[in-house]
């Protein structure tokens, strides 16, 4: 089984951090490939940036879909997730969605803990989009500002731990949201009286499970692949895929 982890941010260090966390839960018979966005932003933190980065995700998938079994969109707001599901014929998972889904069989309510209040509105949309508001306990963020995106998990360890304790009083499962804090869940698990989820681990495990399930069908319905269509000004691989050209 070959999984492609697509980092929609342009920062390769984030890709490495995500992989480091993912491999801890990876079955031995699964190969994890990676792609890092070549255009866009060093770190996506708004709807507009996610909107733009999503096209890069589709482009990567158009190039590599034939040589992989499933893909993981490795940014917490899941940029391009539903478009990708519609356009490609393999399982695609996202960090927000997979973490929420995984939480559903571990507790009644889940919370997000993240490192910047600016991420809140965008992340909250994913909950509503998934129809999971009834089980959502809210977003919790520290007051402290972070310095560098590369070291936020280390710089804000204490404030994030405090926020996790607050979240744990409202929720059974706490999701540590955002690629830059991948790995933090394992680090602080012993100190928080709630179940902690590292979203990249959830996204990878969900992709593995979907591959094994090998879902067929969906020639119709919400994520049926659209008929071939011409376009103007798109990257070649994406234009070809959309046009259903070989």
């Amino acid at each position: 089984m070959r999984l492609l982890l697509i980092n929609p941010n342009t920062t390769r260090d984030l890709t490495d951090r995500l992989v480091a966390s993912a491999v801890r839960v990876l079955p031995s018979d699964v190969e994890l490939l990676t792609a890092t966005a070549s255009t866009g932003f060093s770190y996506i933190s708004s709807r507009a940036e996610a909107q733009i980065a999503a096209v890069g995700v589709l482009e990567v998938l158009a190039e590599q879909t034939r040589s992989i079994d499933a893909a993981i969109i490795a940014a917490f707001g899941d940029p391009g997730l539903h478009a990708a599901r519609e356009l490609f014929d393999l399982p695609v998972t996202g960090m927000s969605e997979a973490a929420m889904i995984m939480s559903l069989s571990l507790g009644e309510r889940f919370a997000f803990v993240t490192f910047s209040p600016r991420l809140g509105p965008w992340y909250a949309e994913q909950v509503a989009r998934a129809g999971l508001s009834a089980r959502f306990a809210g977003i919790f963020t520290p007051e402290e500002m972070f310095g560098s995106i590369a070291s936020v998990a280390e710089d804000l360890r204490s404030p994030l731990l405090r926020v996790c304790l607050r979240a744990a009083s409202e929720a059974d499962v706490v999701i540590l949201a955002g690629a830059p804090i991948a790995g933090l869940a394992a680090d602080i698990a012993g100190e928080v009286p709630a179940i902690l989820i590292d979203p990249i681990q959830a996204a990878v495990l969900q992709a593995v499970a979907l591959c094994r399930l090998a879902p067929k069908g969906a020639d119709s319905g919400s994520f049926a692949r659209p008929p071939g269509k011409d376009s103007t000004g798109l990257p070649d691989a994406l234009a070809s895929w959309i046009a259903r050209r070989p």
Copy 2:
């Protein structure tokens, strides 16, 4: 007051059709400018196509935001709407959202009538996204296939009228969804026992109302403009705007 109607499709005939309907409700002191997408698809009909076209909308806005008072995204699924609101400091309306909002004070329940079942899932998402499911009576589409996107309003007039009658038995307000059937509402209003909404008219009137209201504030909150940020590989105007370069 200067409004910019942005057609995210590349078909200029659709822009003309939309303008023809919009001007019927336009106050005399409002100037309506238009922009038609130069890249993307002749007619967007899936989430993936909307995802891609949205970036073109942001690009147009980055180029023209300084010389307009409000903008209308003139495709029914509102591609790029929330990203545009976040990124730009002027009112932005979309055809789906404005039509739904306008319906709320005309009846208890609204329905969508559109010309192709393929549009259903994408359009239905807009209802959930807006939190308006409690007032939604569903999507109604004819079985008949349409020939050309340019003449669908004429080619399918009878089937669409039949579908409107069905929708009218479930809803108080029927929204004729999709740019290619702009103008149809006025044509068949006398034949359907429900209130018909032409979404481009709703979107233009909503933009006018928001301009007059002149909302201020939102330095924080969901649609606060993000701080300046560098990017890689974006069109110049969009990159400059996002970087907050003058």
Copy 3:
């Protein structure tokens, strides 16, 4: 275009205050007429009072419906709104509903700020009635008591400003609820980091938009006018209108 602003309270000063705010956003081709209730209460502040005042609203409409294009019910709980929509063949807007609707395209979540906790339960009902609970961030009121209903906007300016700041931390859009604080939004807009809505402005702009849209239809459905019916003991104009007597 002739709009009738109906103040369901018997206090003429409130009518003047509402008009003063409304004219700031009124297009130049719109004439704003007013009517102040002759029976009922100086200021409605409970469900029971609203229930009673609503009949006065219907009576005014029965007298004047033939000479106006749309009506605005100018009390925040919208007394008689749905009854009026059902009974009369022109657009009718209300301050609560219009403010909520307008907020939907300005932010994700709206809050109400008002000057007395007693108004809370009645106002909250309007949100549930409109099916908009998913986008509601709650009602915020000061602890301070107000002296005169005529000067509450001035007397409680500081406490209301503090409450708005609290509301702004939970909501993107803050609606200043209640006729006695009409005009306050413009006064304090610079001091609150959220979008402020003055409901009478929203209600007037919504009425203008609906007039331009000129919705037709609804011979059936939720707000279809009932067939003529006899009654006992009603004011003449209202009885005649309900009986469909010329």
Copy 4:
């Protein structure tokens, strides 16, 4: 225990029909008084009519509240119910609300069967108002027109039975909605494979239960009685009660 059954319609025959059904379930130690509206409509069938009739209900209550233990508003849309709860210090029940509440412990989902499609939108509002949409299976009505309101239960017996059978396939509990069909439930219970509720029976039993429970408190909260207030043009008893004059 003295209960007052208030018929908000002006038709005394309806009062008699309601009493005939109510007494079948009345405990022997309960006295049932009645009042029939002296102004308003022979049969309320729209929101506007309910809005007007509600004031008559409040007037009756202001006159008789001191000599009764609880009141029942005996029209299916519960005109004036929440206003009455707020204004008076005794339990008040309504036919729609009581029937819905009673159904909650008899099955998972309830349906309304009524005799005219025109009643649908008004009745449906009560479900949303009560926050019970999750357990509502819809409104079912016959196609047939009824002749006289006095004999609709007899004239439409067959069509209503057919409609009940349809409703029984969607719901566990079928509520026979509308004062003119009081008593029908007992008549057809043997022919419908669902639990049938006669709303006047539910409303009377709910009033009896609330009287026995003797709830105290509510000096604050949603239904706290408003402070005394002057008014203009109201009937004497109602004005005095609202002013808290002895």
Copy 5:
């Protein structure tokens, strides 16, 4: 009328306490029988314990159903309630459900006050199960630990009163949840500005009302009794009842 109050806990003192509260509201023509669980737990306080105790409730009902008119499951989480409704042909009420239902006509929002945070998740499930989340203001518990289950109402009187005051600021109706605090509502009613409900009283009154209503039907639908079925290893009375053996 003969009601059976089934205490699913094995503590007879709790049965006595429940009866003491119930008889205060019991009509004179109603006989109240009791049964105390002979297996299970002295006091159920988790889902698992409720799951186990529920079978005991079904067993008691199988033994006694032929000699009673209705049954009350007298533990707040309503162990076995829906199973009992399905299996037996008489009205069955539960303390949580009846208290919630009764609250619906006394205020807009209800809260639970209970004596241990551990009960929260289990109790909260009942609200969701009943589809009443829209009217739920939350669960409020004291920080203090209780000593003996037999005297918690007395030991924690002060902390529970403080918690009730907090709950009263969020809700119109406060439900004192849990058999060990039966009777407390009457004790503190004068000190809390909200309506207090003692759930055993609500459950008994609801059972009386349902007996008087004498619902028939439900040969189909959610709570239709299943066809006879063989089983292995069940207590005799329960096995016979399920097998529909005489």
Copy 6:
């Protein structure tokens, strides 16, 4: 990794059928143990039967929890699922919940197809219990009666296929609900234009994923294990586990 598949029914043939389907998706490093209920019913088909069978599930878990890594409750209504999560310190999955969760990343809406209308109400409760109603398209069942529970998948193949086609017009994902039709999804996948889920496969894959995730925490919260407690009349292993005796 050692998984225990617990069949709460007493029919061993069903266990074999479930295992036959599960092993098709089982990773090679996972060992699948099984247990078949020794008391209860040959096939659970009502809430009451599920209530009783759940205790057997807890008993099996009390006996075997120390020698396994995760457990699967292999009956579609998930008898005992939440009680088991609370009581035991390992991941427990259920067929209904796992199938619903798995469907969330494969389509917008899921439907249940099952072989008997009697199962509907019980199965529908699981959707509400999980808070997933917003994504549920309903339950679809054939009119045809089945003969033997052992051969229902074969006997009703044609009717079930027709029902799946109907379900596929409302949902993107169709869940083939009920242990007796395990394996049918693979059989008919090519004939239905929707994604089909075999719930036992989903439940096994979900258990594997949760084992790899190795969630820690939950010393508090909804599924925290209760403190040790004495009991009366329980099977030894269960009583010991609940008492936290070694």
